[in-house]
Subunit: 123 residues, 2 copies
DNA sequence: CAAAGTGTATTAATTGTATTAGTACACTTA
DNA sequence: TAAGTGTACTAATACAATTAATACACTTTG
């Protein structure tokens, strides 16, 4: 379910956050579904439990999961929270698009990228 | 010409790299134009000269500038180098687009972002 | 030639973050 | 009661970013 890429320069906890966020936003993890326990996932990924804890704390802070002492962590995913996080992703996309524009990349080339990613059929 | 954002979590040298790269890619800095000296820019930005040196080294490694001992740093900007860096930016854009897609963001919303950034006229 | 300005290299010290390790406590479930 | 859960805390380690202080080689200018 979760894979750590040690080539990736980003911190481990950030990778975990991003993976779970994607799974929650696209509905792969449904509301009230239980997440792996902090300790279990730590063992599975061969990393320290504190690192998992840090990731879960941030996910809770974003409203994507909720935690119950003694029971575990569960998917929250109220629709407005999903929308909010998707809007944040679009804001990051705008920033990247702005850089592309300022770097002299033409509209058509950006458009080709969007089609390339979003189209199922070959170009 | 260059501004440091201390709110930005990215390292200073990276911000400097990105700013100069944009100025070179879009042609604001023309080939063989001289860049501020390592020491002068350090004073202007109130940071250490080593940080500037690090940024210039990376820009040279990308082929965007060339340095001459005793004289200074100058814009290289061969057209193929420009194309190469633009392609790197598009690759980053693809990654971000993939995240958007996997996060359940619809094609139309992404398209709106692209139009919003690239259109001069109001939507 | 001498001075000033340039890039470059090196070492040391400081700071902040990521990660691991170990422990402890409160809670829930079987 | 025992096992499993979240949570909090401290300590130690490792690494990256940044600053600081030199030093050296080179070029330009007076």
């Amino acid at each position: 379910m979760i894979v750590i890429d040690y080539q990736d320069k980003r911190p481990i906890y950030e990778q975990i956050i991003d993976r779970f966020q994607i799974l929650i936003l696209n509905g792969a993890l449904e509301p009230d579904m239980q997440l792996p326990s902090v300790r279990a996932l730590a063992v599975e990924l061969s990393i320290n439990a504190n690192t998992i804890q840090r990731a879960y704390s941030e996910l809770e802070h974003r409203g994507l999961i909720y935690s119950v002492k003694g029971r575990g962590n569960f998917v929250s995913a109220q629709q407005d929270v999903v929308k909010e996080q998707q809007e944040k992703l679009l804001e990051e996309l705008r920033t990247q698009l702005q850089v592309c524009k300022e770097s002299g990349i033409e509209f058509i080339h950006v458009l080709d990228c969007v089609r390339e990613i979003y189209q199922e059929v070959k170009v």
